[in-house]
Assembly symmetry: C2
Homo-oligomer: 325 residues x 2
């Protein structure tokens, strides 16, 4: 049998058809057809990963499959939605069954974990890139928009910040240690889907930290017409990130590096976070009326950070690798 | 202001926000949020166009913007759905405002024509490619699947067949005549959205002719577990296509060439097509129990055509340009 586009889709992309919310009509027609429950709204997002831009050209295809879905699940998480369906458009220079098999294993392992059903795809020939379109469900009238932050809200972030950026710096070295947790943060991000669902009824605003905390929190501030001050000393930095800042004498570095795929969200100050006890979340600051994002240091220094990551002005040097949105 | 990703999206992709069915939350958040009317289902499709694979590298960006949306609208048409929302993921080597402006003009002119609302996008740096995710609405319980063809059904095709393939052959020549109708068929296909809606309650099966009539009709036959015989002499070939077949002594050529974006559909034999009087549709054959696709010639010759276009085994030579799905 020739390795035609049709057999590629059938062989690699239609393998997990027995879980999650089944489409009315799935892979194999001109469109998928989906029934949306009448008490639900649909959340939709698209992200593209391009070789040598969002990932290294020697990337492990299994990790790449994971990451391509993870960065999209992260957008669903940031809306507080429950992921349900995904389409995968993959462009690759030539058929490589080993590569495709590993890629799909990574993709589907994560899809299975989140009961996400693949409903369609497109396979084309060309320079390697992957575009995922993901859909999730939300109760009618509810979502975690960027525009809902209120003056006085406490600002939270999940997990730790800066590790993926540090992992990228380590991953592009010749002697990369695959077991280094920072490298793992970069290569295999875990989207905060469950946390997003948990805060849907609690938070006023939310975004996923993909382009760097500074850029992403600034999106919330701009959309909500507010400002914020965050405390540098309260930031969840690991020892490895602290050491990097110290060695490079650059306290601001982790605010501008991307790919962490944590959630940054704001909640009214009186909100009890006891319901979030099973999640790793840290209060880092407060929403204020005065526009702009300020970083406050223990020594009294106050720095305004209003810029973030830009895909067309890469911040990471050697290979011109930038982070995924 | 730097030409950042955010300003690109705002500047070029958010310009037609005042038409069609508004999203609850549109461009500018982690996801778009959509309310689906309770009497409707959602039809979803994704298609990618890659430079030097699906379009020539010197393509007019306005025509490319049109085509990127047209090929996706064609999938919506093939389901009988009404297009509503679209996401645009575009990867481009560098910011070229002139190119982007023309591309978006072509894209949005067609979007406006069909009242399609753009709900999101992703802009990344890399080799030029465009992935569109399109959504449309269908009445609950209705769609034009490939799998519904019944023995005895009449097979119809819209418009004419082979012109886009001929147009591609003309377009890659140095002295291309932009006003040649075949070139126009290739560069600026018009999706049959209105016809798709018109046949939703009439047809048993439908597909859009993107990979060549042979490949696409074979998809219907395979999905419906039936066969077909079509009459070569009944096929809607223009004089230009007939001349090409004659000059090249290749009667089968237009069955395997793609990019026509016509609809091929089957209807019960007794169905009156008076309701379709305003459309250009031609009866070309009959669905039969015997598997396989047969082309019948007036001289009694019968040829079985069970293969079609394959993106990884390009059929068109010189530039390795293949047709979009």
């Amino acid at each position: 049998m020739p390795s035609s586009e049709f057999s590629i889709i059938e062989e690699f992309f239609a393998i997990n058809s027995a879980q999650g919310m089944m489409p009315t009509l799935g892979i194999g027609d001109d469109c998928a057809v989906l029934d949306i429950p009448s008490d639900k709204q649909l959340a939709v997002s698209t992200d593209t990963l391009v070789e040598d831009v969002h990932f290294l050209s020697n990337s492990d295809p299994r990790l790449l499959g994971h990451k391509a879905l993870a960065v999209n699940l992260s957008d669903i998480a940031a809306m507080g939605a429950t992921p349900t369906w995904v389409s995968l458009a993959i462009t690759l220079p030539a058929i490589d069954k080993g590569w495709l098999s590993s890629f799909s294993q990574g993709f589907f392992a994560l899809a299975k974990e989140h009961s996400v059903q693949i409903i369609g795809g497109d396979t084309t020939r060309g320079p390697l890139s992957i575009t995922v379109n993901i859909m999730g469900l939300l109760p009618n009238g509810q979502c975690l928009a960027r525009s809902g932050a209120k003056v006085g809200d406490a600002i939270y972030v999940s997990g730790t910040i800066g590790n993926a950026g540090l992992g990228l710096k380590k991953a592009i070295k010749a002697d990369v240690d695959q077991k280094d947790p920072d490298v793992g943060s970069y290569l295999k991000p875990e989207p905060c889907v469950s946390l997003g669902e948990a805060i849907l009824s609690m938070a006023n605003s939310c975004i996923d930290v993909s382009d760097g905390l500074s850029a992403d929190l600034n999106h919330i501030l701009k959309a909500s017409h507010v400002g914020a001050t965050i405390s540098h000393e309260d930031m969840p930095f690991t020892q490895s990130v602290k050491e990097y800042m110290e060695e490079n004498n650059d306290d601001l570095w982790p605010y501008s590096t991307g790919d962490d795929y944590q959630l940054c969200f704001t909640m009214p100050p009186q909100t009890s976070i006891s319901e979030l006890a099973t999640y790793d979340v840290t209060k880092i600051g407060v929403i204020e009326e005065k526009q702009g994002l300020r970083i406050k240091f223990n020594d009294g220094k106050l720095i305004t950070l209003n810029k973030g990551f830009d895909h067309f002005q890469p911040v990471s040097g050697e290979l011109g690798i930038s982070t995924a949105e």
